[in-house]
Amino acid sequence: MANQIDGLKDALVGLDMNKVLDKVKAGLDAGVDPMDMVKDLQAGMVEIGDRFARGEYFLSELIMSGEIMKQAMALLEPKLAGVDQEYKGNIVIGTVQGDIHDLGKNIVAMLLKGAGYNVIDLGVDVPAEKFIDAVKENQAPLLAMSVLLTGCQDPMRDIIKAVRDAGLDVKVLIGGNYVDEKVKEYCGADYFGTTADDGVKVAKEVFGA
Protein backbone atom coordinates (compact mmCIF):
# COMPACT_ATOMS: atom_id res chain seq x y z
CA MET A 1 0.00 0.00 0.00
CA ALA A 2 2.74 2.39 0.91
CA ASN A 3 4.20 2.34 -2.60
CA GLN A 4 1.76 5.01 -3.80
CA ILE A 5 3.61 7.45 -1.64
CA ASP A 6 7.11 6.14 -2.15
CA GLY A 7 9.26 9.08 -3.06
CA LEU A 8 6.82 11.65 -1.65
CA LYS A 9 9.48 13.04 0.62
CA ASP A 10 12.05 13.18 -2.17
CA ALA A 11 9.61 14.90 -4.51
CA LEU A 12 9.12 17.62 -1.91
CA VAL A 13 12.84 17.95 -1.28
CA GLY A 14 13.31 18.16 -5.07
CA LEU A 15 10.65 20.93 -5.14
CA ASP A 16 8.61 19.07 -7.74
CA MET A 17 5.17 20.50 -7.07
CA ASN A 18 3.24 18.40 -9.61
CA LYS A 19 4.83 15.18 -8.46
CA VAL A 20 4.02 15.92 -4.81
CA LEU A 21 0.40 16.76 -5.53
CA ASP A 22 -0.02 13.75 -7.83
CA LYS A 23 1.38 11.44 -5.20
CA VAL A 24 -0.84 12.87 -2.49
CA LYS A 25 -3.92 12.45 -4.71
CA ALA A 26 -2.92 8.92 -5.66
CA GLY A 27 -2.31 8.11 -2.01
CA LEU A 28 -5.71 9.40 -0.97
CA ASP A 29 -7.40 7.46 -3.79
CA ALA A 30 -5.67 4.29 -2.69
CA GLY A 31 -6.72 4.85 0.92
CA VAL A 32 -3.29 5.57 2.36
CA ASP A 33 -3.50 6.99 5.88
CA PRO A 34 -3.26 10.79 5.42
CA MET A 35 -1.24 11.01 8.63
CA ASP A 36 1.48 8.87 7.02
CA MET A 37 1.65 11.30 4.16
CA VAL A 38 1.87 14.27 6.53
CA LYS A 39 4.76 12.54 8.27
CA ASP A 40 6.59 12.00 4.98
CA LEU A 41 6.08 15.62 4.04
CA GLN A 42 7.33 16.74 7.43
CA ALA A 43 10.43 14.62 7.00
CA GLY A 44 10.90 16.39 3.67
CA MET A 45 10.64 19.80 5.32
CA VAL A 46 13.24 18.79 7.90
CA GLU A 47 15.58 17.72 5.09
CA ILE A 48 14.95 21.04 3.33
CA GLY A 49 15.80 22.90 6.53
CA ASP A 50 19.02 20.91 6.81
CA ARG A 51 19.96 21.74 3.23
CA PHE A 52 19.31 25.41 4.01
CA ALA A 53 21.56 25.15 7.06
CA ARG A 54 24.30 23.62 4.89
CA GLY A 55 24.01 26.49 2.41
CA GLU A 56 22.71 24.22 -0.37
CA TYR A 57 19.23 25.70 -0.35
CA PHE A 58 18.31 29.39 -0.27
CA LEU A 59 15.20 31.32 0.71
CA SER A 60 13.72 30.82 -2.72
CA GLU A 61 13.75 27.05 -2.20
CA LEU A 62 12.27 27.44 1.30
CA ILE A 63 9.45 29.59 0.00
CA MET A 64 8.77 27.25 -2.90
CA SER A 65 8.67 24.25 -0.56
CA GLY A 66 6.33 26.17 1.74
CA GLU A 67 3.98 26.74 -1.16
CA ILE A 68 4.03 23.06 -2.18
CA MET A 69 3.44 22.06 1.43
CA LYS A 70 0.50 24.45 1.64
CA GLN A 71 -1.13 22.99 -1.45
CA ALA A 72 -0.49 19.42 -0.33
CA MET A 73 -1.98 20.17 3.08
CA ALA A 74 -5.03 21.69 1.40
CA LEU A 75 -5.67 18.25 -0.12
CA LEU A 76 -4.89 16.40 3.08
CA GLU A 77 -6.54 18.53 5.72
CA PRO A 78 -10.18 17.61 4.91
CA LYS A 79 -9.22 13.95 5.38
CA LEU A 80 -7.50 14.70 8.64
CA ALA A 81 -10.66 16.03 10.26
CA GLY A 82 -11.36 14.04 13.37
CA VAL A 83 -7.87 12.56 13.40
CA ASP A 84 -5.90 14.00 16.25
CA GLN A 85 -2.80 15.51 14.73
CA GLU A 86 0.03 14.56 16.98
CA TYR A 87 1.97 17.75 17.45
CA LYS A 88 5.27 17.78 19.24
CA GLY A 89 4.11 20.86 21.13
CA ASN A 90 2.84 24.43 20.95
CA ILE A 91 5.04 27.35 19.94
CA VAL A 92 3.95 30.98 19.88
CA ILE A 93 5.78 33.19 17.39
CA GLY A 94 5.62 36.82 16.26
CA THR A 95 7.60 39.90 15.20
CA VAL A 96 7.95 42.33 18.10
CA GLN A 97 6.07 45.58 18.43
CA GLY A 98 7.27 48.38 16.15
CA ASP A 99 8.84 45.99 13.63
CA ILE A 100 7.13 44.77 10.48
CA HIS A 101 9.90 42.63 8.98
CA ASP A 102 8.29 39.24 8.66
CA LEU A 103 10.06 37.34 5.88
CA GLY A 104 12.47 35.70 8.33
CA LYS A 105 9.80 35.00 10.92
CA ASN A 106 7.57 33.34 8.32
CA ILE A 107 10.35 31.00 7.32
CA VAL A 108 11.15 30.08 10.90
CA ALA A 109 7.44 29.37 11.46
CA MET A 110 7.25 27.30 8.31
CA LEU A 111 10.20 25.10 9.27
CA LEU A 112 8.82 24.63 12.77
CA LYS A 113 5.46 23.58 11.36
CA GLY A 114 7.25 21.34 8.93
CA ALA A 115 9.09 19.70 11.81
CA GLY A 116 5.77 18.82 13.46
CA TYR A 117 5.14 21.60 15.95
CA ASN A 118 1.87 23.47 16.33
CA VAL A 119 2.84 27.06 15.56
CA ILE A 120 0.65 29.97 16.64
CA ASP A 121 1.77 32.87 14.47
CA LEU A 122 0.72 36.28 15.81
CA GLY A 123 2.02 38.24 12.81
CA VAL A 124 3.97 41.51 13.04
CA ASP A 125 4.04 44.50 15.38
CA VAL A 126 2.95 42.30 18.28
CA PRO A 127 2.64 43.93 21.74
CA ALA A 128 3.43 42.20 25.04
CA GLU A 129 -0.20 41.49 26.00
CA LYS A 130 -0.80 39.61 22.81
CA PHE A 131 2.24 37.39 23.35
CA ILE A 132 1.22 36.79 26.96
CA ASP A 133 -2.37 35.93 26.10
CA ALA A 134 -1.31 33.52 23.39
CA VAL A 135 1.23 31.76 25.59
CA LYS A 136 -1.39 31.38 28.34
CA GLU A 137 -4.16 30.25 26.07
CA ASN A 138 -2.03 27.62 24.36
CA GLN A 139 0.08 26.74 27.39
CA ALA A 140 3.03 27.09 25.08
CA PRO A 141 6.40 26.03 26.51
CA LEU A 142 8.26 28.07 23.85
CA LEU A 143 7.85 31.67 22.77
CA ALA A 144 9.77 32.74 19.68
CA MET A 145 10.23 36.38 18.73
CA SER A 146 11.72 37.92 15.65
CA VAL A 147 13.34 41.37 15.59
CA LEU A 148 15.18 42.96 12.68
CA LEU A 149 15.36 46.58 13.77
CA THR A 150 17.93 47.30 16.46
CA GLY A 151 15.58 50.08 17.59
CA CYS A 152 13.03 47.41 18.57
CA GLN A 153 15.39 45.38 20.71
CA ASP A 154 14.79 47.53 23.76
CA PRO A 155 11.01 47.16 23.44
CA MET A 156 11.61 43.42 23.07
CA ARG A 157 13.37 43.46 26.42
CA ASP A 158 10.25 45.06 27.93
CA ILE A 159 8.09 42.37 26.35
CA ILE A 160 10.26 39.62 27.80
CA LYS A 161 10.13 41.29 31.19
CA ALA A 162 6.33 41.45 30.97
CA VAL A 163 6.22 37.76 30.07
CA ARG A 164 8.37 36.88 33.10
CA ASP A 165 6.36 39.20 35.35
CA ALA A 166 3.20 37.40 34.26
CA GLY A 167 4.78 34.33 35.87
CA LEU A 168 4.62 32.22 32.73
CA ASP A 169 6.69 29.07 32.58
CA VAL A 170 7.94 29.56 29.06
CA LYS A 171 11.33 29.58 27.37
CA VAL A 172 12.00 32.60 25.21
CA LEU A 173 13.84 32.35 21.89
CA ILE A 174 14.75 35.48 19.97
CA GLY A 175 16.11 35.77 16.45
CA GLY A 176 16.95 38.15 13.64
CA ASN A 177 19.83 39.48 11.59
CA TYR A 178 21.40 41.71 14.25
CA VAL A 179 20.76 39.34 17.15
CA ASP A 180 23.70 37.89 19.04
CA GLU A 181 24.78 36.75 22.52
CA LYS A 182 24.94 40.36 23.72
CA VAL A 183 21.42 41.10 22.59
CA LYS A 184 20.19 37.87 24.15
CA GLU A 185 21.69 38.80 27.49
CA TYR A 186 20.49 42.36 27.34
CA CYS A 187 16.93 41.30 26.57
CA GLY A 188 16.89 38.42 29.02
CA ALA A 189 15.99 35.71 26.52
CA ASP A 190 16.84 32.04 27.04
CA TYR A 191 18.06 31.34 23.51
CA PHE A 192 18.92 33.23 20.37
CA GLY A 193 19.09 32.26 16.72
CA THR A 194 20.33 33.90 13.55
CA THR A 195 19.11 31.43 10.98
CA ALA A 196 15.80 29.68 10.50
CA ASP A 197 17.08 26.23 11.37
CA ASP A 198 18.26 27.53 14.75
CA GLY A 199 14.54 27.66 15.58
CA VAL A 200 14.15 23.95 14.98
CA LYS A 201 17.33 23.18 16.96
CA VAL A 202 16.07 25.09 19.99
CA ALA A 203 12.61 23.57 19.73
CA LYS A 204 14.17 20.10 19.75
CA GLU A 205 16.02 21.00 22.92
CA VAL A 206 12.98 22.52 24.66
CA PHE A 207 10.55 19.76 23.73
CA GLY A 208 13.09 16.96 23.77
CA ALA A 209 11.67 15.88 20.41
Binding site: G55, L59, S60, V124, T150, G151, N177, Y178
Partner: protein
Protein backbone atom coordinates in the same frame (compact mmCIF):
# COMPACT_ATOMS: atom_id res chain seq x y z
CA UNK B 1 36.46 82.34 0.65
CA UNK B 2 34.48 82.14 3.87
CA UNK B 3 35.49 79.60 6.50
CA UNK B 4 32.39 77.54 5.91
CA UNK B 5 32.93 77.50 2.19
CA UNK B 6 36.48 76.33 2.74
CA UNK B 7 35.30 73.64 5.11
CA UNK B 8 32.71 72.55 2.55
CA UNK B 9 35.36 72.25 -0.17
CA UNK B 10 37.74 70.35 2.09
CA UNK B 11 35.09 67.87 3.09
CA UNK B 12 33.81 67.41 -0.42
CA UNK B 13 37.34 66.83 -1.77
CA UNK B 14 38.00 64.29 0.94
CA UNK B 15 34.78 62.43 0.12
CA UNK B 16 35.23 62.49 -3.65
CA UNK B 17 38.90 61.50 -3.42
CA UNK B 18 37.95 58.46 -1.36
CA UNK B 19 35.20 57.53 -3.85
CA UNK B 20 37.80 57.74 -6.61
CA UNK B 21 39.75 55.17 -4.58
CA UNK B 22 42.36 57.77 -3.70
CA UNK B 23 43.95 58.74 -0.38
CA UNK B 24 42.58 62.02 0.98
CA UNK B 25 44.07 63.84 3.98
CA UNK B 26 42.09 61.55 6.28
CA UNK B 27 39.33 58.94 6.19
CA UNK B 28 36.02 60.70 5.47
CA UNK B 29 33.05 60.14 7.78
CA UNK B 30 29.57 59.62 6.45
CA UNK B 31 26.95 58.59 8.97
CA UNK B 32 23.67 57.13 7.84
CA UNK B 33 21.71 58.30 10.87
CA UNK B 34 17.98 58.17 10.52
CA UNK B 35 15.69 58.20 13.55
CA UNK B 36 18.79 58.72 15.67
CA UNK B 37 18.76 62.36 14.52
CA UNK B 38 15.19 62.90 15.74
CA UNK B 39 15.87 61.42 19.12
CA UNK B 40 19.09 63.39 19.49
CA UNK B 41 17.22 66.62 18.74
CA UNK B 42 14.36 65.68 21.06
CA UNK B 43 11.55 65.23 18.55
CA UNK B 44 8.96 62.46 18.46
CA UNK B 45 8.68 60.42 15.29
CA UNK B 46 5.23 61.85 14.66
CA UNK B 47 6.77 65.32 14.60
CA UNK B 48 9.37 64.43 12.02
CA UNK B 49 6.96 62.47 9.82
CA UNK B 50 4.42 65.28 9.76
CA UNK B 51 6.36 68.53 10.10
CA UNK B 52 9.07 69.14 7.57
CA UNK B 53 10.58 72.01 9.57
CA UNK B 54 11.15 69.74 12.58
CA UNK B 55 12.37 66.97 10.31
CA UNK B 56 14.98 69.40 9.00
CA UNK B 57 15.76 70.83 12.46
CA UNK B 58 16.74 67.33 13.66
CA UNK B 59 19.68 67.34 11.28
CA UNK B 60 20.74 70.86 12.29
CA UNK B 61 21.25 69.90 15.91
CA UNK B 62 23.51 67.00 15.02
CA UNK B 63 25.66 68.81 12.49
CA UNK B 64 26.10 71.72 14.87
CA UNK B 65 27.44 69.39 17.53
CA UNK B 66 29.56 66.95 15.51
CA UNK B 67 32.33 67.26 12.98
CA UNK B 68 31.37 64.78 10.28
CA UNK B 69 31.98 65.15 6.55
CA UNK B 70 28.46 64.27 5.51
CA UNK B 71 25.13 63.04 6.88
CA UNK B 72 21.99 62.27 4.90
CA UNK B 73 19.42 65.03 4.96
CA UNK B 74 16.56 64.83 7.43
CA UNK B 75 15.68 61.52 9.09
CA UNK B 76 12.26 61.03 7.54
CA UNK B 77 12.16 60.12 3.87
CA UNK B 78 8.43 59.60 3.64
CA UNK B 79 6.25 62.45 4.87
CA UNK B 80 2.98 61.37 6.43
CA UNK B 81 0.88 64.24 5.07
CA UNK B 82 1.49 63.35 1.44
CA UNK B 83 0.41 59.79 2.03
CA UNK B 84 -2.60 60.90 4.02
CA UNK B 85 -3.64 63.14 1.11
CA UNK B 86 -4.08 60.10 -1.11
CA UNK B 87 -5.06 57.67 1.66
CA UNK B 88 -2.13 55.26 1.28
CA UNK B 89 -3.22 51.82 2.47
CA UNK B 90 0.27 50.34 2.49
CA UNK B 91 1.73 52.61 5.17
CA UNK B 92 0.93 53.26 8.80
CA UNK B 93 2.13 56.43 10.51
CA UNK B 94 2.81 57.63 14.04
CA UNK B 95 -0.09 59.63 15.45
CA UNK B 96 -2.56 57.96 13.08
CA UNK B 97 -2.62 54.18 13.18
CA UNK B 98 0.38 54.10 15.53
CA UNK B 99 1.51 55.70 18.79
CA UNK B 100 3.20 59.05 18.41
CA UNK B 101 6.72 57.78 18.83
CA UNK B 102 6.47 54.65 16.72
CA UNK B 103 8.27 54.13 13.48
CA UNK B 104 6.17 54.11 10.30
CA UNK B 105 5.18 50.66 9.04
CA UNK B 106 4.99 49.26 5.53
CA UNK B 107 2.52 46.46 4.81
CA UNK B 108 4.01 44.08 2.30
CA UNK B 109 1.66 42.32 -0.08
CA UNK B 110 1.33 41.28 -3.72
CA UNK B 111 -0.23 44.59 -4.73
CA UNK B 112 0.58 43.59 -8.30
CA UNK B 113 -0.89 40.21 -9.24
CA UNK B 114 0.69 37.65 -11.55
CA UNK B 115 -2.11 38.43 -14.03
CA UNK B 116 -0.93 42.04 -14.23
CA UNK B 117 2.39 41.26 -15.90
CA UNK B 118 1.22 41.75 -19.49
CA UNK B 119 -0.25 45.18 -18.85
CA UNK B 120 2.74 46.18 -16.77
CA UNK B 121 5.20 45.16 -19.49
CA UNK B 122 3.12 46.92 -22.16
CA UNK B 123 3.19 50.27 -20.36
CA UNK B 124 4.33 50.36 -16.73
CA UNK B 125 3.48 54.01 -16.08
CA UNK B 126 -0.02 53.64 -17.45
CA UNK B 127 -0.56 50.47 -15.46
CA UNK B 128 0.63 52.18 -12.27
CA UNK B 129 -1.70 55.12 -12.80
CA UNK B 130 -4.79 53.19 -13.86
CA UNK B 131 -4.47 50.00 -11.83
CA UNK B 132 -1.94 50.21 -9.01
CA UNK B 133 -2.70 53.63 -7.55
CA UNK B 134 -6.43 52.94 -7.20
CA UNK B 135 -5.61 49.66 -5.44
CA UNK B 136 -3.26 51.32 -3.01
CA UNK B 137 -5.18 54.45 -2.03
CA UNK B 138 -8.53 54.93 -0.37
CA UNK B 139 -9.05 58.32 -2.03
CA UNK B 140 -9.31 56.64 -5.43
CA UNK B 141 -12.78 55.32 -4.68
CA UNK B 142 -14.29 57.99 -6.89
CA UNK B 143 -12.67 60.00 -9.69
CA UNK B 144 -13.48 63.36 -8.13
CA UNK B 145 -11.67 62.59 -4.89
CA UNK B 146 -8.90 60.83 -6.79
CA UNK B 147 -8.11 63.94 -8.82
CA UNK B 148 -8.16 66.19 -5.78
CA UNK B 149 -5.99 63.82 -3.80
CA UNK B 150 -3.38 63.71 -6.54
CA UNK B 151 -3.29 67.50 -6.69
CA UNK B 152 -2.97 67.71 -2.90
CA UNK B 153 -0.30 65.03 -2.80
CA UNK B 154 1.71 66.57 -5.62
CA UNK B 155 1.47 70.05 -4.12
CA UNK B 156 2.67 68.67 -0.79
CA UNK B 157 5.56 66.94 -2.49
CA UNK B 158 6.63 70.12 -4.28
CA UNK B 159 6.49 72.10 -1.03
CA UNK B 160 8.55 69.46 0.76
CA UNK B 161 11.14 69.33 -1.99
CA UNK B 162 11.39 73.13 -1.93
CA UNK B 163 12.02 73.12 1.81
CA UNK B 164 14.65 70.43 1.42
CA UNK B 165 16.43 72.40 -1.30
CA UNK B 166 16.45 75.46 0.98
CA UNK B 167 17.77 73.38 3.86
CA UNK B 168 20.51 71.98 1.63
CA UNK B 169 21.68 75.48 0.84
CA UNK B 170 21.67 76.45 4.50
CA UNK B 171 23.58 73.33 5.52
CA UNK B 172 26.24 74.20 2.96
CA UNK B 173 26.48 77.88 3.91
CA UNK B 174 26.13 77.69 7.67
CA UNK B 175 27.71 74.35 8.47
CA UNK B 176 29.88 73.63 5.44
CA UNK B 177 28.24 70.25 4.96
CA UNK B 178 26.81 68.45 1.92
CA UNK B 179 24.51 65.43 1.53
CA UNK B 180 26.21 62.05 0.99
CA UNK B 181 24.19 61.28 -2.12
CA UNK B 182 21.93 62.85 -4.71
CA UNK B 183 19.14 60.93 -6.32
CA UNK B 184 17.92 57.44 -5.62
CA UNK B 185 17.08 54.34 -7.57
CA UNK B 186 16.65 50.60 -7.12
CA UNK B 187 17.60 47.28 -8.59
CA UNK B 188 14.78 46.31 -10.97
CA UNK B 189 14.31 43.05 -9.04
CA UNK B 190 13.75 45.11 -5.87
CA UNK B 191 11.31 47.47 -7.57
CA UNK B 192 9.20 44.42 -8.32
CA UNK B 193 10.01 42.40 -5.22
CA UNK B 194 9.73 45.08 -2.51
CA UNK B 195 6.65 46.96 -3.49
CA UNK B 196 4.82 45.35 -6.40
CA UNK B 197 4.88 41.55 -6.15
CA UNK B 198 6.18 41.09 -2.62
CA UNK B 199 8.69 38.40 -1.71
CA UNK B 200 6.34 35.45 -1.97
CA UNK B 201 5.01 36.66 -5.31
CA UNK B 202 8.36 37.20 -6.95
CA UNK B 203 9.77 33.94 -5.62
CA UNK B 204 6.85 32.05 -7.15
CA UNK B 205 7.21 33.97 -10.42
CA UNK B 206 10.78 32.71 -10.81
CA UNK B 207 9.34 29.19 -10.83
CA UNK B 208 5.99 29.73 -12.52
CA UNK B 209 6.36 32.60 -15.03
CA UNK B 210 10.08 33.31 -15.41
CA UNK B 211 9.77 34.81 -18.90
CA UNK B 212 7.27 37.43 -17.85
CA UNK B 213 9.35 38.30 -14.83
CA UNK B 214 12.44 38.72 -17.02
CA UNK B 215 10.52 40.90 -19.48
CA UNK B 216 9.22 43.09 -16.64
CA UNK B 217 12.73 43.46 -15.21
CA UNK B 218 13.99 44.56 -18.63
CA UNK B 219 11.28 47.18 -18.93
CA UNK B 220 12.45 48.66 -15.64
CA UNK B 221 16.09 49.20 -16.65
CA UNK B 222 15.62 52.49 -18.52
CA UNK B 223 13.02 53.62 -16.06
CA UNK B 224 15.32 53.12 -13.09
CA UNK B 225 18.22 54.90 -14.82
CA UNK B 226 15.96 57.80 -15.69
CA UNK B 227 14.49 57.91 -12.19
CA UNK B 228 17.99 58.05 -10.71
CA UNK B 229 19.14 60.92 -12.92
CA UNK B 230 15.89 62.82 -12.48
CA UNK B 231 15.86 62.59 -8.68
CA UNK B 232 19.52 63.70 -8.68
CA UNK B 233 18.52 66.69 -10.83
CA UNK B 234 21.42 65.78 -13.09
CA UNK B 235 24.10 66.05 -10.38
CA UNK B 236 27.09 63.75 -10.91
CA UNK B 237 29.42 64.86 -8.13
CA UNK B 238 27.68 62.87 -5.44
CA UNK B 239 26.72 59.21 -5.77
CA UNK B 240 23.19 57.97 -6.18
CA UNK B 241 21.67 56.10 -3.24
CA UNK B 242 20.67 52.55 -4.03
CA UNK B 243 19.46 50.48 -1.07
CA UNK B 244 19.71 46.85 -2.19
CA UNK B 245 17.37 44.34 -0.68
CA UNK B 246 16.53 41.02 -2.21
CA UNK B 247 19.87 40.23 -3.73
CA UNK B 248 21.55 39.62 -0.37
CA UNK B 249 22.45 36.15 0.83
CA UNK B 250 20.47 33.88 1.28
CA UNK B 251 17.48 35.14 -0.75
CA UNK B 252 18.34 33.67 -4.16
CA UNK B 253 20.34 30.64 -5.18
CA UNK B 254 23.37 31.44 -7.37
CA UNK B 255 21.65 30.55 -10.65
CA UNK B 256 18.66 32.72 -9.79
CA UNK B 257 20.92 35.55 -8.75
CA UNK B 258 22.79 35.35 -12.06
CA UNK B 259 19.60 35.13 -14.07
CA UNK B 260 17.12 37.38 -12.30
CA UNK B 261 18.91 39.78 -9.99
CA UNK B 262 22.21 40.71 -11.52
CA UNK B 263 21.81 41.39 -15.27
CA UNK B 264 19.34 44.24 -14.95
CA UNK B 265 20.99 45.71 -11.85
CA UNK B 266 24.29 45.73 -13.73
CA UNK B 267 22.63 47.48 -16.67
CA UNK B 268 21.19 50.17 -14.41
CA UNK B 269 24.55 50.82 -12.75
CA UNK B 270 26.38 50.87 -16.09
CA UNK B 271 23.70 53.10 -17.60
CA UNK B 272 24.08 55.59 -14.76
CA UNK B 273 27.86 55.45 -15.07
CA UNK B 274 27.59 56.38 -18.74
CA UNK B 275 26.00 59.60 -17.51
CA UNK B 276 28.92 60.00 -15.12
CA UNK B 277 26.74 59.03 -12.17
CA UNK B 278 28.27 56.81 -9.53
CA UNK B 279 26.12 54.46 -7.42
CA UNK B 280 26.32 54.01 -3.68
CA UNK B 281 25.78 50.24 -3.69
CA UNK B 282 24.13 50.07 -0.26
CA UNK B 283 24.43 46.31 0.17
CA UNK B 284 22.11 45.58 3.09
CA UNK B 285 22.81 42.28 4.79
CA UNK B 286 25.41 39.82 3.51
CA UNK B 287 26.68 39.93 -0.11
CA UNK B 288 29.82 37.83 0.29
CA UNK B 289 28.90 35.12 -2.27
CA UNK B 290 28.36 37.68 -5.01
CA UNK B 291 31.50 39.80 -4.70
CA UNK B 292 33.20 38.27 -7.76
CA UNK B 293 30.22 39.22 -9.90
CA UNK B 294 30.07 42.73 -8.52
CA UNK B 295 33.74 43.09 -9.47
CA UNK B 296 32.62 42.95 -13.13
CA UNK B 297 31.41 46.55 -12.87
CA UNK B 298 33.50 49.35 -14.37
CA UNK B 299 36.19 50.67 -12.01
CA UNK B 300 34.94 53.34 -9.56
CA UNK B 301 31.35 53.08 -10.82
CA UNK B 302 30.14 52.16 -7.33
CA UNK B 303 30.94 52.70 -3.68
CA UNK B 304 30.44 49.28 -2.15
CA UNK B 305 28.84 49.60 1.26
CA UNK B 306 29.45 46.81 3.75
CA UNK B 307 26.79 45.86 6.29
CA UNK B 308 27.24 42.15 7.13
CA UNK B 309 29.36 41.25 4.08
CA UNK B 310 32.77 39.80 4.97
CA UNK B 311 34.89 42.95 4.97
CA UNK B 312 38.16 41.11 4.42
CA UNK B 313 36.86 39.44 1.28
CA UNK B 314 35.28 42.67 0.06
CA UNK B 315 38.66 44.38 0.40
CA UNK B 316 40.41 41.51 -1.35
CA UNK B 317 38.02 41.32 -4.28
CA UNK B 318 36.83 44.92 -4.72
CA UNK B 319 39.57 46.96 -3.03
CA UNK B 320 41.72 49.15 -5.23
CA UNK B 321 39.05 49.36 -7.92
CA UNK B 322 36.09 50.51 -5.83
CA UNK B 323 35.73 52.59 -2.72
CA UNK B 324 34.38 50.67 0.29
CA UNK B 325 32.35 52.03 3.19
CA UNK B 326 30.65 51.04 6.41
CA UNK B 327 30.82 47.92 8.56
CA UNK B 328 30.78 49.36 12.11
CA UNK B 329 28.19 46.97 13.62
CA UNK B 330 24.93 48.57 14.72
CA UNK B 331 24.73 46.34 17.78
CA UNK B 332 28.17 47.58 18.81
CA UNK B 333 26.87 51.16 18.65
CA UNK B 334 24.01 50.14 20.93
CA UNK B 335 25.52 47.65 23.39
CA UNK B 336 29.22 48.35 23.12
CA UNK B 337 31.38 50.82 25.03
CA UNK B 338 33.12 53.82 23.43
CA UNK B 339 36.43 51.93 23.77
CA UNK B 340 35.09 48.95 21.86
CA UNK B 341 33.72 51.19 19.13
CA UNK B 342 36.99 53.04 18.93
CA UNK B 343 38.96 49.79 18.65
CA UNK B 344 36.69 48.56 15.87
CA UNK B 345 37.16 51.79 13.92
CA UNK B 346 40.93 51.64 14.37
CA UNK B 347 40.95 48.12 13.01
CA UNK B 348 38.97 49.24 9.96
CA UNK B 349 41.38 52.11 9.43
CA UNK B 350 44.43 49.85 9.74
CA UNK B 351 43.17 46.98 7.65
CA UNK B 352 40.78 48.51 5.13
CA UNK B 353 41.34 52.24 4.88
CA UNK B 354 45.14 51.92 4.89
CA UNK B 355 45.65 52.51 1.16
CA UNK B 356 42.73 54.90 0.61
CA UNK B 357 39.29 54.36 -0.90
CA UNK B 358 37.36 54.01 2.34
CA UNK B 359 34.52 55.92 4.02
CA UNK B 360 33.70 55.37 7.70
CA UNK B 361 30.03 54.51 8.40
CA UNK B 362 27.88 52.09 10.38
CA UNK B 363 26.85 48.81 8.73
CA UNK B 364 23.14 49.54 8.71
CA UNK B 365 20.97 52.59 9.09
CA UNK B 366 21.45 53.98 12.61
CA UNK B 367 18.23 54.05 14.60
CA UNK B 368 17.31 55.61 17.93
CA UNK B 369 18.92 52.79 19.91
CA UNK B 370 22.54 53.83 19.20
CA UNK B 371 24.29 55.45 22.17
CA UNK B 372 25.40 59.03 21.63
CA UNK B 373 28.76 58.36 23.29
CA UNK B 374 29.41 55.53 20.85
CA UNK B 375 28.58 57.66 17.84
CA UNK B 376 30.94 60.28 19.29
CA UNK B 377 33.68 57.67 19.73
CA UNK B 378 33.31 56.65 16.11
CA UNK B 379 33.69 60.22 14.91
CA UNK B 380 36.54 61.18 17.23
CA UNK B 381 38.53 58.06 16.47
CA UNK B 382 38.25 58.69 12.74
CA UNK B 383 39.19 62.34 13.11
CA UNK B 384 42.32 61.49 15.08
CA UNK B 385 43.39 58.04 14.00
CA UNK B 386 42.14 58.27 10.42
CA UNK B 387 44.66 60.88 9.30
CA UNK B 388 46.80 59.55 6.43
Amino acid sequence: MSDKKKLYQERLNRYVTAMDVGKPDRVPIRLNLSEFLAKYAGYTLQEIYYQMDKNIESSNKFIQDFDVDTVPGPPSLWMGGIHDATGAKYLKFAGRELDKDKQFQFLESDYMKAEDYDDFIENPTKWILTTLLPRLHTEFKDPYRAHLSLIKGAAGMVMNQGMLAEAGKRWAEEYGIFPPFSGMSKAPFDTLGDVLRGLHGIMMDMHLCPDKLLAALDVLVDHNIYYGMATAAGDTTLPLFMPLHRGSYPFLNPEQWDKFYWPTLKKVIEGLWKHGKRTLFYAEGDWTPYLEKIAELPDKSIVFHVDMTDMKKAKEILGGRFCLSGNVPNTLLTYGTPEEVSDYCKKLIDEVACDGGFIMDAGGVVQWDAKVENVRAMIETTLEYGVY
